[in-house]
């Protein structure tokens, strides 16, 4: 079962199903890394709400995916890790340290918006402080 990728503004949203094979995961990884360039996306949101199991392969693939997307100039947020999946991941010893994570899709979109706007406002702050220094 292939993972559908939804284009929403400057973001790509991939929604996982429960029955996801290793091959599906690798296909998703390739598709997202391609599409970030094709659609000039600034962010990728991976929604794992329906995922029943996050095993070591899935965790490793998500880490690689996030890093590849980063190398393509976009950000990745993983959303929807269920409480029992989080519990099992910790028991198993899996970490997603280098990957941005949010509670759900809404939070993920908010983080993406914040980052995009944050970049702009940072530039503005920089400009105004320069002006202040000149003044």
């Amino acid at each position: 079962m292939e993972v559908p990728i939804l284009k929403q503004g400057s973001y790509l949203i991939a929604t996982f199903q429960a029955a996801l094979t290793d091959e599906d995961l690798l296909k998703l990884q390739d598709a997202l890394v391609m599409q970030v360039g094709k659609y000039r996306s600034r962010g990728v949101i991976i929604d794992v709400t329906a995922l029943d199991v996050m095993d070591s392969f899935a965790a490793r693939t998500l880490r690689s995916l996030a890093y590849m997307v980063r190398l393509r100039g976009a950000d990745t947020v993983i959303v929807g890790i269920q409480p029992e999946v989080a519990f099992a991941m910790v028991q198993l010893g899996l970490t997603l340290e280098s990957v941005r994570i949010a509670l759900d899709l809404e939070e993920g979109l908010a983080i993406m918006d914040q980052r995009t706007k944050g970049g702009k406002s940072f530039a503005l702050v920089g400009q105004s402080s320069q002006k202040r220094r000149k003044a």
């Binding site: 029943d52 199991v53 029992e84 028991q91 899996l94």
Partner: protein, 147 residues
């Protein structure tokens, strides 16, 4: 030894493992059995995750094998028994394979030691050239008190 125990024919499900799609089938069947045995959603996820790991080990190292899940009883305790068997190359150094972070490059090195943490009982037998058997049990908390 846990690994030498005969499997109860009662309610046992056997899943041939030969492709990555079989890993998904195995963990879904295992989860369904855990649910029917009254395990919590949290325990069901731990069991399904452990099944996913041992089934993937079969694919990665032995190419094919079999996974069996069955209801299990020992005195007053009830639980679920998971057995993963293959006739693959075997593991030369089990102590090394059971160390956190040890990896042959195909995973995160969390598979086997992680499974031991996910389940209540874990045993592995492996002979070089003779295959590998992993036996895992998760006890149902309802029966822990023996009441």
């Amino acid at each position: 030894m846990l690994a030498n125990m005969p499997l109860s024919a009662n309610g046992e499900i056997r899943i041939p493992i030969a492709s990555d799609a079989d890993i998904v089938i195995a963990r879904q069947r295992g989860r369904a059995m855990a649910e029917s045995l009254g395990f919590s959603v949290s325990d069901m996820t731990l069991i399904a995750t452990a099944i996913s790991e041992v089934a993937r080990n079969i694919i990665n190292f032995a190419k094919r094998g079999e996974l069996a899940v069955s209801p299990h009883q020992r005195s007053s305790r009830r639980g679920i028994l998971v057995v993963a068997r293959d006739q693959g190359p075997g593991i030369p150094d089990i102590h090394l394979a059971m160390q956190d972070g040890y990896s042959t490059g195909k995973g995160l090195g969390m598979g086997l030691p992680g499974c031991r943490r996910l389940m209540d009982e874990f045993e592995i037998q492996s002979n070089v050239g003779g295959g590998t058997t992993v036996v895992m049990i998760k006890w149902s908390p309802d029966y822990d008190s023996g009441s």
